[in-house]
């Protein structure tokens, strides 16, 4: 059953559950952070509207910097701003940040522990029709391997707003990942959010889904449906991929004895890989991975793509059954 401490949206499984894109949470989170701290600055690389940094621009035009289509310079300028005491948030698509300015992120920001907040919007298959070039499916892998960097993939609009706000308060480099499409707001204002603290969304004992991002809603639906088949699935929101909440991950694996990871990202190097790194050393249990299987995406609606690439509700259910069968085979 749903964990009451997660204080999820009571309308979670109703058809009229409110939907908003996670990127909206970034826009609103930046405005909130900007109201509280005059040092918050927004940087934009010609994508003010679609990344929602334009919402910050409207409120704080003097603290908004249009960089033009120049992501490498944007990262460097953000580093300089941070060195002078600003809290710069840079915004573009995940395929460009970290895709195009990884060196600047690694050396200028992370090596120097500069207080820069980097965001990758339109991550995962959710970009849909734009096709394979624009579907950022590698960003978690290439950010989580950089020392000193916090990596967060929030699950819905509200969590993204909280994560953005928390990133402003945190001192040090942070990478945040958002999606483009509207997805269900299944958390509530009261749902706790703390960087590095995983949240148990649903209690269960047969297997645990450890996920991040909007696909967690599909995971919750899958878990709910499996109860009818007598399968009791735990669901953990592992929003902070780094530093990961290892203790919670290990405890969940111990309790359930089988793990399925779920993410809209390449399986290779992603959040699931991070979970496997921890569990293989501390609590090896059978694991299945839901995510992109070493392929590029293609054009289509997000729903079509999620189904076609095996990340939908039914794929998650199959993975659960498979991992449980592996658990019982001795």
């Amino acid at each position: 059953m749903i964990n009451p401490n997660a204080k999820l949206n009571p309308k979670i499984f109703t058809s009229d559950i409110e939907q908003k894109p996670t990127r909206d949470g970034f826009g609103d989170g930046m405005v909130l952070a900007g109201k509280e701290d005059v040092n918050v600055v927004g940087l934009c690389a010609d994508l003010a509207d679609s990344t929602r940094v334009g919402w910050f621009q409207k409120q704080f035009p003097d603290r908004y910097i249009e960089m033009g289509i120049a992501e490498q310079n944007m990262m460097g300028v953000a580093t300089g701003l941070a060195m002078a005491g600003k809290i710069p948030f840079l915004s573009t698509y995940a395929v460009f940040c970290p895709g195009r300015n990884w060196d600047q992120m690694r050396v200028g920001v992370c090596y120097a522990k500069a207080n820069v907040k980097m965001s990758g919007a339109h991550a995962g298959l959710s970009v849909g029709p734009d096709g394979g070039t624009h579907q950022g499916l590698e960003d978690i892998a290439i950010t989580r391997c950089i020392p000193n960097l916090v990596v967060i993939a929030p699950a819905d609009y509200l969590e993204t707003r909280k994560a953005t706000y928390a990133a402003a308060k945190y001192v040090g480099p942070v990478y945040l990942r958002f999606a483009r499409e509207k997805t269900p707001i299944f958390t509530s204002e009261e749902t706790p959010f703390e960087i590095g603290k995983a949240i148990t969304l649903r209690d269960g004992k047969d297997a645990v889904i450890i996920g991040c991002g909007p696909l967690l809603y599909n995971a919750l639906e899958a878990a709910e449906e499996l109860t009818k088949e007598g399968i009791d699935v735990m669901v953990v929101n592992n929003h902070t991929i780094k530093p990961m909440d290892n203790n919670s991950i290990i405890e969940a694996a111990k309790l359930c004895g089988a793990v399925v990871t779920v993410e809209d990202h390449q399986i290779m190097g992603g959040m699931g890989s991070a979970v496997a790194e921890v569990l293989s050393q501390n609590c090896p249990v059978p694991m299945e991975f839901i995510g992109m299987k070493d392929k590029f995406g293609e054009s289509g609606t997000p729903e079509e793509l999620i189904e076609a690439f095996g990340m939908g509700k039914n794929s998650i259910k199959e993975a659960i059954k498979k991992v449980i069968s592996r658990k019982t085979k001795k």
């Binding site: 033009g68 300028v77 090596y111 522990k113």
Partner: protein, 285 residues
Amino acid sequence: MVCDADLKKLEETACQIRQDIIEMLLEAKSGHSAGPLGMADVFTALYFGGILNVDPKNPNWPDRDRLILSNGHIGPVHYAALARRGFFPVEELKTLRKFGSRLQGHPHAGVLPGIDNSSGPLSQGSSIAVGLAYAAKMDKKKWQVYCVVGDGEQQEGQTWEAAMFAGKHKLDNLTLLMDRNNIQIDGFTENVMPLEPLKAKYESFGWHVLEIDGHNICEIIDACKHAQSIYEEPVMIICHTIPGKGVDFMEWKPEWHGKAPNQEEATKALQELRTLKGRITSEAD
């Protein structure tokens, strides 16, 4: 203008920094020789010629002038200048590139007093300097931003992204000093990938450009002061330098870009530099 007696002192300091560089590289057994030697006069002018408003006792003073080094491989000249200016003990120079040292092979921000940015991968410094200059303008601060860049790194696209931004925002609190020594690892810049006309390129991006002899300390100081008087334009000072300057057998040799001297070469280099130091005179002598 710098008075004659002061100039003699500055020339001696530059020569001392060159000796420090040779001694550091010999001890480290690896590193870059030509670039650091070639920029000893520029760093002397910046740290000892009254240009940089910094305080060795309070290296993180918020209102200090900033010096961003973009081509981190010439770090030894920055380290030597900082040590001689009193930011950390001169003896520590010998730890360059060694395990546990604050003097990393390429500079690491936050561990060594006086070093503000991590650098090595090229072309990042100018963007960082631009960000600092922009922040100073936002807060109406008077401090100046200086940035030392290499000529080879002008081949990186990011350099021109930063140049475009600085021109757009008329960052007149920003001064770049380019080490125009004409060499890079694979040979002479104009053979590897031609850079000229650099002056016209920067001017077309909205910069005020000065070209000077990068070994004439008076000229470097004058150019930096001139830069401060320029209104509504960022300034690029192209410093024409000789790679390996001061050590005869290293001058103008691309092969000395990324190489450290062995004992014999170091002895010879130090002998040359000491003789040079003995020859520095002022008209007052």
